[in-house]
Symmetry: C2
């Protein structure tokens, strides 16, 4: 639900060394997950996407959930390395750009398929502790990034005296909700709601955060 | 994710006529879903909770997903009949009470189990059109309720000139996100975030909606 989903969808993070077997396996997992979705995914279908020796696949991972939790960890490591929120200097512009991207009314097919898969994987966390641990780490990291952005805005005199952790929580939870609603309701209905969420959240954050200049 | 989940969890909606076979089957489905979760649920396990003739179960429903979609529709019909948002006269008090309930930092075991089951069912909508239709209807109804509450606040001079649909979308999407994060992250971590979301959303809505008096 973070920037990594963008990178995943555009394939950026899989521009990796062809000799890197783990990265190749993660790319195969990504393709199989987008093609089949969580419920229909089997470790055999991932194997079919994976052109290298299957010994890594069958000996290192104890079933599809073990591999998918490994995939979530891999994706998060990429996200932590990239720290995409630091690409834009002004903290407000950074928040605005993030929300405009994450809350775009529609997604292209690749981003939509990846979002569907992530929503299905997240739901596994309701009963599987390994998934829950991966998503907790994921949410914690993204929350810290958002908190740091808000704190930087305060320190630079751009934002007023808000509580950075509270603002970060509201933004993050809204993004989780939008990601979920987007792929679990009729696309046209979901697009209309997400368009409203983006406008209302940005207006509301502008009211709460921005110092009058 | 709506008020019905509260009613479900407290068992209110299943205080039905003992001769009502459909309601008894829905109660059995509810119990089986909370006990086993979506992934481990089978139509046989629902049958084990259902004390009446199993002919309804096996002849009327074409597998567990068909029954669960029927269950979602039943739950939503209860919700539409109850219209819980109209219990409190003042529109702001109504919103506040809703958010304090839905964004309570912790849930008792029954509400938590039901929330886990609903998050799992919602994820099915990523690939199953029947679930998607049920959740679209669900979200549409709840969004209309929230919109009507905001509009009433404007008409009564309690709220300023906001866009009721946009405000309703932000509230609803945040609630979907909170419900999802709550059961897909470490409980202590999730509780801390939801506590912040509740406080930030209420403060932000107060800023945006309430007319200075």
């Amino acid at each position: 639900m973070n920037e990594y989903s963008i990178k995943m969808a555009t394939g950026d993070i899989f521009d990796v060394d062809a000799d890197d077997t783990e990265a190749a396996l993660m790319a195969a997992t990504y393709c199989a997950l987008c093609d089949h979705g969580y419920a229909d995914l089997t470790i055999q279908k991932i194997g079919a996407e994976f052109e290298k020796s299957n010994s890594l696949l069958y000996h290192h991972y104890d079933g599809k959930d073990d591999l998918l939790v490994g995939f979530l960890e891999f994706v998060l490591d990429q996200f932590e390395t990239d720290v995409p929120l630091e690409d834009v200097d002004d903290p407000w512009d950074r928040l605005e750009r993030l929300l405009e991207h994450m809350l775009a009314p529609t997604l292209d097919d690749d981003r939509r398929e990846f979002t569907e898969a992530m929503v299905e994987l997240r739901a596994q966390a309701a009963h599987d502790p390994a998934y829950r641990e991966a998503f907790t780490r994921h949410d914690r990291f993204f929350h810290e990034q958002l908190t740091a952005t808000v704190r930087e805005g305060i320190d630079r005199g751009r934002f007023g005296a808000v509580d950075p952790e509270r603002v970060a929580s509201l933004v993050q939870t809204t993004l989780v909700g939008a990601m979920t609603q987007r792929v679990t309701t009729d696309p046209e209905y979901g697009a209309a709601r997400i368009d409203e969420v983006r406008r209302e959240l940005l207006a509301s954050l502008a009211d709460r955060l921005l110092e009058d200049t």
